[in-house]
């Protein structure tokens, strides 16, 4: 990001926002899956990212974290480019994105959240192991610290991921579908944690699939379907009309134009 671009972005987006996305478009094989996302996340709030399958919810998070390339647009976190803010951001990937047969214990997974703090070449010392165990305690898994991760239930695995995000001690949490496939106890534990995070002034953006619980769990909502349909406080934005616009199928023209962009790439 050049200084001029940064200045332009700072003029349009509040520096206090944990996550500012400026005119971002993301494409897979030339076909845009997210169009012109322009968004400022409110500080200290729990935000649900809601939308149908293929709406680009996970892609939004990954593009903000530079995990997938953007074809246009910029992202700032707390007023600075992400590369300068890594330690203030914690990412919780989808549970299915890793190999749970990997030969490590729950505690060792949580320790990974501390690797940045520990630094290159240095070993994980007792102090850090202790921190990992404390985080496991916070998610109710202290008795499972030495279990190999394949022996945990789906909900327990998700809680291990949360514990790993907790030890990162970040200011902005980006979570991809933490509620999917978990038991009722885990769901309660996650909600509890999110509230704790909020009360200590942190912000969380959570990809969420269960419309029933949006207003109970979250302060704000971002309705997404290839573009932002609406964003703001749940009370104002989470309306039947907006939901219909979000779930009532993709915008036909966006889809058609995207398809043509993909085809022209293949020379047809």
């Amino acid at each position: 990001m050049s200084q001029a671009q940064l200045d332009q972005m700072r003029a349009e987006h509040p520096a206090s926002s944990p996550l500012s996305i400026h005119d971002m478009t993301v494409a897979y094989q030339r076909k845009p899956v997210l169009w012109d996302i322009d968004y400022d996340a409110p500080a200290g709030k729990l935000v649900a990212i809601v939308g149908p399958n293929g709406a680009g919810k996970s892609t939004l998070i990954k593009a903000a974290l530079d995990l997938v390339p953007r074809i246009s647009g910029m992202v700032m976190m707390f007023g600075h480019p992400y590369s300068q803010q890594r330690k203030r951001i914690a990412y919780v990937p989808q549970r299915g994105s890793v190999d749970w047969d990997f030969p490590i214990s729950a505690r060792q997974v949580v320790e990974m959240g501390l690797y940045r703090k520990i630094g290159w070449f240095r070993p994980v010392t007792k102090k850090y192991r202790q921190q990992a165990v404390e985080a496991l305690d916070r998610v109710g898994l202290v008795d499972y610290a030495d279990r190999q991760i394949s022996q945990l239930s789906g909900g327990q695995q998700q809680r291990v991921f949360l514990a790993r995000a907790l030890v990162q001690d970040a200011d902005l949490y980006l979570m991809d579908e933490p509620f999917i496939g978990v038991d009722a106890a885990t769901e309660r534990a996650i909600v509890e944690l999110l509230r704790e995070l909020r009360s200590s002034g942190k912000t969380a953006l959570v990809v969420h699939h269960d419309l029933q619980t949006v207003s109970e769990y979250f302060d704000e909502v971002l309705l997404l379907n290839m573009r932002i349909v609406a964003a703001g406080p749940v009370k104002e934005v989470f309306t039947e009309e907006n939901l219909r616009a979000t779930y009532g199928g993709k915008l036909a023209l966006l889809e058609q134009v995207g398809h043509r962009m993909q085809l022209s790439e293949m020379g047809e």
Binding site: Y91, P93, Q108, Y115, F121
Partner: protein
Amino acid sequence: MRNRLKAGFEMFSEFLELAADWNFRDTWMAATAALAAMACAIPGTFLVLRRQSLMGDALSHTSLLGIIGAILFANALRVSGWIDTETYIATRHAVMFVGAMAIGVFSAFMTEWIQKLGRVEASAALGVVFTSLFALGLLLVRSAPSGLHIDPDCVFYGTIETTAISVKGEPPAPAITNGIMLLVNLTLVVLFAKELKISTFDTELSTTMGINARVMHYGLMAVTAATLVAAFESVGNILVIALLIVPAATAHLLTDRYGRLIGIALVVSALSAFLGHLMAITLPAIIFPRLGFETVRDASTAGMMAGTCGMLFLLAVLFSPRHGIFSQFVQRVRLSVKIAGDDLLGLLYRIEEVDMEERQVGAMDLVRKHLGLGWMMSRLAVASLSRNQQIVSDPSGYHLTDIGRESARKLVRSHRLWEAYMAKHFQLPDTHLHETAARVEHYLNPDIRSQLEDELDTPGADPHGRDIPDERHPEGE
């Protein structure tokens, strides 16, 4: 029988005689092979954990192009006068490593590129890349000027028998090369312990934390290629794939601990080197004459090593404590005995329930008939229950003890709670409930039972109207 015993004994004493011929030459050969195998096991562990074992196969082929290309390049520099012959000879070895590492990274990069461009899965892209680069390497070998001393046999089969020979008690050159490689790999694993772990387990988190998983991947490819080149001279570029992958795969079967994994892989590698060489100098002389091939007296150490690796892997498949076929069999038998025992306890409990006078099941064949068990299983079940003092037998038959009654009550409670639970949530006739409950009853714990109880509208009785016993005995009998 007697003749067979005698033949076996003869073979064994022949083996001891041949093994007694083991001398310091053999020790150096085996040690060289062990160092090569151990050096390979380290990057191999990460290839296996990343589920990229095929990448090792690919790199062992493409490295050929790296080696040849680098030597041809250095030779061209020498011919055109950029470097003198002395420098050329001195740096020849290092140049080979650099060439192989560069090709290693290039192969990984090309694979990703073709995967994206050709819209094929990773293994297909890998297949395209490594076969074409290997073919290119072969072409260069053929067209290389004869003065370059490039011997394809050395690359394909390895020449441990002729090169791993100690001169004046000094370690042979290949032992030193592989030893250095092992040290380098060990150092890297210790230095980058965390980075390797996180970039292998969770590429996305790793990248967001500033440990670029892609860069780590390329680094691993470069190190793997260098390790392979070091091992080529000893074991050849085909069998080296076994050393790369099999010890790590074996270790993966034997442990669930990351730290131990590399340790076990190292031990397996060293073991297969020594055992492999031992077999190479003994077994052919024992076996082949008996098959009518009088002249075959030994076999290639590298081949036997790869074979031993495979055998150790097979042993792990059979006897691994958690994933092994044997332990899984034992586990299954234990579970079957437990279930059979549970069923017998339940049967005795129900008999007590309907008729307080006749608290027994007469004989073993009655047990078998009631529970539909085989001869063996019914005996094992009865033996296990008796040992745990859950049942006693007297001339009139089997009876529950107090301990047994306690366990039986919990089983029957589990069974009936489950029937009641199903009756509430499934639209099924009552006759369909028993079979499922009989399957589930063995796996419920007190916590689940109390949750079930809370779920039910009438927790006192099951759908057939029978009492659901309490979790604890009311009088504490």
